[in-house]
């Protein structure tokens, strides 16, 4: 399908097949079209051309309230004039479930997201993480066929975000329904997803499992957007590495060795000097400047506590296996 706003093509000829029960992430920078795709699936936007099918049924022209899909909004969109329980029961209320019955279901749903006893509060009295859970309970209580999540963890602080990631994954497993998750956080996408679609400029750059996306990125964009990559464009790849086409290597696959270390078959050795050392706690990130001025990012795990001397200016050999190089093809 395609979606244009005026002359701007937000989603360009997209073709996507999401399996039932899958945790599917749409990853991309802001403005890459991932949120537009989500809004098209939810029915808030109408496609300029193309169709959307849900379990084989064409829902392209159906209004949002007529689709068996629910959304967890980025800002949660809880109704501020209703209590938490009324919020959760809203979907049941508009479906005509009797008052007592829907309150019962809502309270059970709140209990399942660890919010028992919060039913009579107003959303404004809850913390960000609690609101997030209410939004989840509200969207899942009507048992949708798929749940859409629009950067649901974006507003939470790091610790809470990590905790919610675990809870989301558990929730998805226990409900057994499809989760379609939009995020610009590559780590979140890698952690949670069964499959990831990497978006760029309204197109899918790559579609695959987290390991596929990370280990064999299909384009320079994916290689640099998902994790960090040292990219050698065609001429440099040929001169330094002896391979044809653009190639990239992940920082953690590079090992620094003392100058003069003997060459080994299948291992590339590039001489350089350490330009910058950044201590990250679990690891240390180093920038190694090669003879031609190019800088390589290297990640060293801090497996031992080492005496900290200033390593800037040290001459080293950056070594990595040619087998770890990822070919990104020829780019025009």
């Amino acid at each position: 399908m395609t979606k244009s706003f005026g002359s701007v093509v937000a989603v360009d000829n997209l073709n996507l097949d999401i399996a039932e029960g899958e945790f599917f992430s749409m990853l991309g920078p802001s403005g890459s079209g991932k949120t537009t795709v989500l809004r098209l699936i939810a029915g808030f936007e109408t496609a300029t051309s193309g169709t959307i099918e849900l379990r084989g049924v064409d829902v392209t022209d159906r209004a949002p309230f007529d689709r068996d899909i629910n959304t967890v909004f980025q800002d949660y969109a809880l109704f501020p004039h209703m209590t938490v329980a009324e919020n959760v029961a809203y979907g049941l209320r508009v479906r005509g479930v009797p008052r007592a019955r829907r309150r019962e279901i809502a309270l059970a749903a709140l209990e399942s997201v660890a919010l028992a006893g919060f039913g009579d509060r107003k959303p404004s009295q809850l913390s960000g993480g609690q609101r997030q859970r209410v939004a989840l309970a509200r969207a899942t209580v009507v048992q949708p066929k798929a749940l859409l999540l629009d950067e649901p963890l974006g507003a939470l602080d790091l610790k809470l975000r990590e905790q919610m990631q675990v809870e989301l994954k558990e929730l998805q497993r226990s409900l057994g329904i499809t989760f379609i998750f939009v995020t610009h956080d590559q780590e979140e996408a890698l952690t949670l997803s069964d499959r990831i679609a990497v978006f760029n400029a309204g197109r899918i750059e790559q579609l695959g499992t987290p390991a596929e996306i990370y280990e064999s990125p299909a384009s320079p964009f994916v290689a640099s957007f998902v994790g960090t990559s040292n990219i050698f464009e065609e001429s440099a790849a040929h001169a330094l590495l002896g391979v044809s086409g653009t190639a990239s290597i992940r920082p953690e696959k590079i090992v620094l060795a003392a100058p003069g270390t003997a060459a080994t078959a299948g291992i590339v050795s590039l001489p350089g000097t350490i330009a910058e050392v950044i201590y990250l706690g679990t690891a240390t990130r180093l920038l190694v400047e090669l003879a031609d001025g190019r800088r390589l990012t290297v990640l060293e795990q801090n497996v031992t506590t080492r005496a900290d001397h200033d390593r800037r200016g040290d001459a080293v050999l950056a070594r990595f296996a040619t087998a770890d190089l990822v070919s990104l093809g020829s780019v025009g």
């Binding site: 209004a63 949002p64 909004f73 969109a77 809203y90 969207a139």
Partner: protein, 266 residues
């Protein structure tokens, strides 16, 4: 920001002066309503409650109040319905001529009353041939009362955004259910504030009223204007004026409080 003591003294003096110019005359009216003089001489020669008693027995004044309330309620009701509808249309939908409509809706409050008055008088009498009366005043007042409701509602809609309505639709609610359960509760205090202002605006309007009231319809402002210069009526007018001040302060105060409470909440 810190101000020097001279600057503070100057600002305090100017503020006091400006407020005094506004409120001292009102105080004079209040004092006059208890004065024994019938010609509003100053200083008042003595104290009496006679005018207050007479005002409450004055059939003309009481009828005028009744008429004004009726007109203000009518104009407010029309403004609430139409103002809300046009605000939703302009804020939630994109259509050809949207900016023009927006300008045309707000314009009447800036138009000189005398122009509105003459235009409507002409329109009612010669073009559609309607007898001037309470109904024509209500319609005339509604033209500018809509603006206060419209402004309040559109500001609220802009602030609440569309995500609550989208959430409602997403959870299975149709357009009307969404309006009833989500949009309207969000607008409630904005409607109250806009409605109170519309009521106050209509209640003391005199220029447009003069042109659109046929003979025999006397609103309170018209009654005051007619009686101010009649012998022995001036003190009663003062009493009515004091009551008007009291009555118009309440809606404004309520409207302000509602707006303030909302801001604290959002």
């Amino acid at each position: 920001m810190r101000l020097s003591s001279t600057a503070r003294a100057v600002l305090a003096t100017v503020t006091t002066l400006v407020l005094a110019v506004i409120y001292l005359p009102l105080g004079v009216v209040l004092v006059n309503s208890f004065s024994t003089s019938t010609t509003l001489t100053w200083p008042p020669p003595g104290f009496t409650l006679e005018w207050w008693g007479r005002a409450f027995r004055n059939v003309g004044a009481l009828e005028a109040i009744g008429t004004s309330v009726q007109i203000a309620l009518g104009a407010t009701a029309i403004s609430l319905v139409l103002g809300t509808l046009v605000a939703i249309a302009l804020q939630r939908y994109r259509f050809f001529g949207r900016d023009v409509v927006s300008l045309l809706v707000i314009l009447p409050i800036a138009l000189p009353g005398i122009v509105t008055g003459i235009a409507l008088n002409n329109f009612f009498r010669t073009i559609i041939d309607v007898r001037l009366g309470i109904f024509t005043i209500i319609v005339a007042h509604a033209t500018f009362c809509i603006v206060t409701v419209f402004n309040n509602v559109i500001a609220r809609l802009r602030r609440t955004g569309t995500s609550l309505e989208e959430a409602s639709a997403d959870l299975g609610a149709g357009i009307w259910t969404t309006f009833r359960l989500v949009t309207f509760p969000q607008l409630r205090s904005a409607l109250l504030a806009g409605g109170l202002l519309a009521f106050a605006l209509s209640f003391d309007e005199i220029i447009v009223t003069t042109f659109t009231a046929g003979s025999g319809v006397t609103t309170l402002p018209i009654w005051i204007f007619e009686n101010l210069f009649r012998p022995n009526q001036a003190p009663i007018v003062s009493v009515i004026a004091v009551m008007l001040v009291a009555v118009s302060v309440v809606p404004i105060w309520l409207a302000q409080r509602l707006a303030g409470a909302d801001q604290a909440q959002h």
